[in-house]
Amino acid sequence: MHKSASFTPEGLYPRKTKLTITISIVIVSTFYLLSSIMTESFLLDLFIKMPNVFGLIGEFFPPEWSYLEEIWPKLFETIHIAIIATTVAVIISIPFSLLTANNVTTNHWLYQAMRFLLNIIRTVPDIILAVVFVGLFGIGAFSGIIALIVFAVGILVKLMSEVIESIDMNPSEAIRASGGNGLQTIYFAIVPQVLPQFISFSLYVFELNIRASLVLGLVGAGGIGQLLNKEINFFNYPAVSTIVIIVFAVVVIIDYISGKLREGLV
């Protein structure tokens, strides 16, 4: 019972799919070309300007190791900023993450209002926060700390409220059924379930804060970023490369330690 092959398939995909793909490619390349032309930046420049890049990199070497003396205090300031900001942000984010979890905050309006507030906070980039707070409180570490607290609360609350929303609600029911009040239910049924994740996220936010506080220094919010900015403006490239190397080492070490701690938790 062989059927004769009167039909030869054209390819691996139906004609309609091919057409869709072709059109998509044309549209994307058009956008790419348009963007390139409008901004007058072409990928080709990367290769044309390579000699400049190498020339500049040459100026960064050798790093000026005697400059280390000036780096240490500012480096510790950066770490201090991150520690203070993370600690405060963690404490603030506990009630907020409970308020933005719909299984804890059953009042619909309160829940929506809190979510809206936190979405707004999260849309503001950390560098903008720093610019604003430097404007309000002046140049220095304090402005950086405030900016990082706001930045970290936005991230932590988002991560934590999602963890809280995914927990098993049955133990809470048992605690309520035995006469526990709202706070007791949270503390005895919800906290034990989310605590490891919460600590893990806090360490992660600490890593983020270390990195962010470097960038924030560029706009005057204290720490080693401020030093970096100064040396770049003075074209003191050997010092800049010393800073970059030290920062790289510190970030790698802190990420490693915090990563190991987090592994032990979950």
Partner: protein, 258 residues
């Protein structure tokens, strides 16, 4: 002790959980509620401590109409009404001890409980109740290290720590194997007899209902279709409650002599 007077409950989606239910349960009784899933057994039992709130009628528990209670009064009532769940509802990451101490929360102030400042009597009570269900050697184990039967025993100890007048058990053995199921039911029966705690258990296994109950209440479609002492119950009674003939799946098995 517990009296339902024309209690009805309509869920927000329009499902009728209870229809004009009238029941009177005496102090110290061991009542088993049977019925197919969806018959309203859980709704009935959860109305008693108001985990669900009936929409009409009067529901008297230990002298108070639970439908009229404010939040604080409701928490006081709940300390008197212990509950055991199908899925044990322990906090899996917490120790057995902490889970049992949760039974004392209703008697303990918020701040005291948050700083774990429980009285020595409370701690002793928790330990004694773990001894009663023979699980005291797991005191500091995490709940998720225990087997299902052991977890259910811990949840019984948690209820006992409340020193309740009423014990509600919502399908307490549905997640357990036959021998463990009988063990758990025996503990419930023993506690009921020794402490004179009024006990209401939801079950869908006919043989277990017959073995442990003093009184059986049959439910179908949110209505009580049978209510009588176990001596009046026969296989025909169950066929009448279930509205179909009895099948193998309605039996737990594992009974002595079976």
């Amino acid at each position: 002790m517990i009296e339902f007077k024309d209690v009805s409950l309509v869920y927000p989606n329009g499902t009728e959980g209870l229809k004009q239910v009238n029941v009177h349960i005496q102090e110290g009784e061991f009542v088993v509620i049977v019925g197919l899933s969806g018959a309203g057994k859980s709704t009935l039992i959860r109305s008693i401590n108001r985990l669900v709130t009936p929409t009409k009628g009067e529901l008297i528990v230990d002298g108070d109409d639970v439908l009229q209670l404010n939040n604080k009064q409701l928490r006081t009532l709940r300390t008197k009404v212990g509950m055991i769940f199908q899925s044990y509802n322990l906090v899996r990451r917490s120790t057995v001890m902490k889970n049992v101490m949760a039974g004392r929360l209703g008697y303990t102030g918020t701040w005291k409980s948050i700083f774990h400042l429980f009285s020595n009597e409370d701690k002793r009570l928790a330990y004694e109740n773990l001894q009663r269900v023979n699980i005291e050697d797991k005191l500091y184990n995490r709940a998720d290290e225990l087997s299902g039967g052991q977890q259910q025993r811990v949840s019984i100890a948690r209820v006992l720590a409340q020193q309740p007048k009423v014990m509600l058990a919502d399908e307490p053995v549905a997640s357990l194997d036959p021998p463990t199921s009988h063990q758990v039911m025996k503990y419930l029966k023993q506690i009921n007899e020794e402490d004179n705690i009024t006990t209401i258990v939801n079950l869908h296994f006919i043989d277990m209902a017959m073995e442990y109950a003093d009184r059986i209440i049959g439910m179908r479609d949110g209505e009580i279709v049978f209510d009588g002492p176990v001596s009046q119950v026969s296989e025909q009674t169950f066929e009448q409650i279930y509205g179909r003939s009895i099948r193998d799946e309605d039996m737990r098995g594992g009974m002595k002599g079976a």
